[in-house]
């Protein structure tokens, strides 16, 4: 019994200490005056975090849109409501699937890469050598990656949503024969810019913030061994995915809760 309490206490203290270190890293990354060099460093990271994630985002978006179009059609056609396919696809994607699935893919593709890269830099003493050269690794390595992640995530989610809607129309309109004019005009009428599109962008921005924060922190805080890096990379994907799903519920409640 005492051992159980002891281990519970130790774990709680460890969790609190980890949260404290993560908070400190976040503050050190964002609370400082930006320099001109930071813009270039962020731009470079935008390429590796954002542009290089485009393929998986685009392909996944296309297939998810196509599946949604097919499933939506088979259900709606039973009630003769296939003209509602456009709003169904667009609202599901813009409000939920776009931000959430894009963020999950982003955590798997870019988040894990960030953790492994920073962890390996730690293990090979690159971060320590930077510190000895009087260059703060938090400013030089962490901050540009952090800002690039926050910028890239909403853009990737927007691209994901656009391609998914095209995928839905390919199946619904081009393959299953839903009227093209009805599909697009019903979608235009149902999707509200502020309530749906902007809220979706806000969601993906929040997901981007948390996924990148978790990824850079896990890399910076990892045990600098091959096993430690592997564990941190796994933790990034697991913790980010759980955070995305929990935050999605919270944000959906805040954004759309009053509709119920």
């Amino acid at each position: 019994m005492i051992k159980l309490a002891q281990s519970l206490g130790t774990r709680t203290l460890d969790t609190m200490a980890t949260a404290g270190r993560a908070g400190r890293l976040l503050m050190q990354s964002i609370l400082r005056l930006p320099r001109f060099k930071d813009v270039y460093l962020t731009y470079v990271q935008l390429y590796s975090i954002g542009v290089q994630s485009l393929l998986i985002i685009a392909v996944s978006g296309l297939f998810i849109g196509m599946v949604l179009g097919l499933q939506g059609y088979t259900t709606l056609v039973k009630f003769g409501a296939e003209s509602a396919l456009g709003p169904l696809v667009a609202l599901s994607i813009v409000r939920e699937l776009g931000p959430v699935v894009a963020a999950l893919l982003f955590a798997g593709r870019a988040g894990s890469a960030l953790t492994a890269e920073i962890g390996l830099m730690k293990a090979t003493e690159q971060l320590a050598s930077m510190e000895m050269m009087a260059v703060n690794p938090v400013h030089r390595i962490i901050a540009p990656r952090f800002f690039a992640g926050i910028i890239a995530m909403p853009l990737l989610a927007a691209i994901f949503s656009a391609i998914a809607i095209i995928g839905g129309s390919l199946v619904g309109v081009n393959w299953l024969g839903v009227d093209s004019g009805g599909f697009w005009s019903a979608m235009q009428g149902a999707v509200d810019w502020e309530n749906d599109v902007i809220n979706g962008i806000i969601k993906s921005g929040v997901f981007g913030f948390f996924v990148t924060w978790i990824a850079v922190f896990r890399g910076y805080d990892c045990v600098p061994t091959s096993e430690g890096i592997s564990r941190s990379t796994t933790q990034t994907v697991v913790h980010s995915s759980l955070a995305i799903l929990a935050l999605d519920f919270l944000l959906t409640t805040l954004m759309f809760g009053d509709i119920v």
């Binding site: 003493e125 690159q126 050269m133 009087a134 260059v135 030089r140």
Partner: protein, 269 residues
């Protein structure tokens, strides 16, 4: 050469977990001299360099750089102090995503506003000093261990520091690379009037370039003096280390339970 102390370590203690790495360490590094810090593996030589560079914080005592406690400096002051220190890491610690040229240019680009042409000139001069001007476009993954360490040395002296700390510079080097590195360290010291701290357990090599030596064991300075004085030292610990004898006061084994009792435990299981 001057007799001004650059680094003074006073009664420093440092623990890793329960184990005391340093237990009241006192040591002085004179400006303009090459100081060797020797000792068996696991005596905390690399840890000592990290404590001097304030990457680690001691549990007690203090480390003075130019008479100021380096662990009590605010971050800006600490970073100013670090610009006066160069460090050659055991692994080289080159940035794997930057070329040899960009690695050496890194501290110059971060800390100066020099025009590109001047930075290029300085980098080429530093690379020429280590014999790798022709390798400027290679990536670190394309370099041998010895070449990587020479690039790291060029990077460590890019800002013309007052002091360079060398962490096991000769470990794992072939005789030619070792000779080249020794010559380089010697030449750089003399021409740039550097203060050098060389951490190593390669006794013959390090004593050939050092002005003053410290031998660490069991968390303390076991002996100190010029290389000649150490060679003539009658202490068993020092002569065991200097001559590389397996038997002596410095144990080969990490502290453990009785060997026979440990083996008998396997039979019981």
């Amino acid at each position: 050469m001057t007799d001004t102390p650059l680094i003074q370590i006073e009664n420093m203690t440092y623990h890793r977990g329960e184990r005391a790495i340093f237990n009241g360490l006192n040591l002085t590094i004179m400006a303009g001299k090459t100081t060797a810090i020797m000792g068996p593996s696991g005596t905390g030589k690399t840890t000592l360099l990290k404590l001097i560079g304030a990457q680690l914080k001691p549990d007690g005592g203090r480390v003075l750089f130019h008479g100021e406690d380096i662990h009590k400096m605010p971050q800006k002051e600490l970073y100013n102090a670090r610009q006066k220190m160069g460090m050659l890491f055991q692994s080289g610690a080159l940035f794997s995503d930057l070329s040899v040229f960009d690695n050496v240019a890194f501290p110059l680009r971060e800390h100066t506003n020099l025009p590109r042409s001047i930075i290029r000139t300085i980098v080429l001069m530093k690379l020429n000093a280590v014999g790798l001007r022709g390798a400027r476009d290679l990536m670190p993954s394309e370099l041998s261990g010895g070449m990587g360490r020479r690039v790291a040395l060029a990077r460590a002296v890019a800002l013309d520091p007052e002091m360079v700390m060398y962490d096991e510079p000769f470990t794992g080097q072939d005789p030619i690379s070792m000779g080249v590195l020794m010559k380089l360290i010697n030449t750089l010291n003399k021409s740039l009037k550097l203060t050098s701290v060389v951490v190593s357990h390669d006794v013959a090599e390090v004593t050939s370039i050092a002005d003053y030596c410290y031998v660490l064991a069991q968390g303390k300075v076991m002996a100190e003096g010029t290389p000649e004085e150490l060679n003539q030292n009658s202490s068993e610990t020092v002569s065991q280390f200097m001559q590389g004898s397996p038997d002596g006061p410095v144990p080969f084994h990490f502290p453990a339970d009785d060997y026979m009792a440990d083996l008998q435990e396997s039979v019981k299981r």
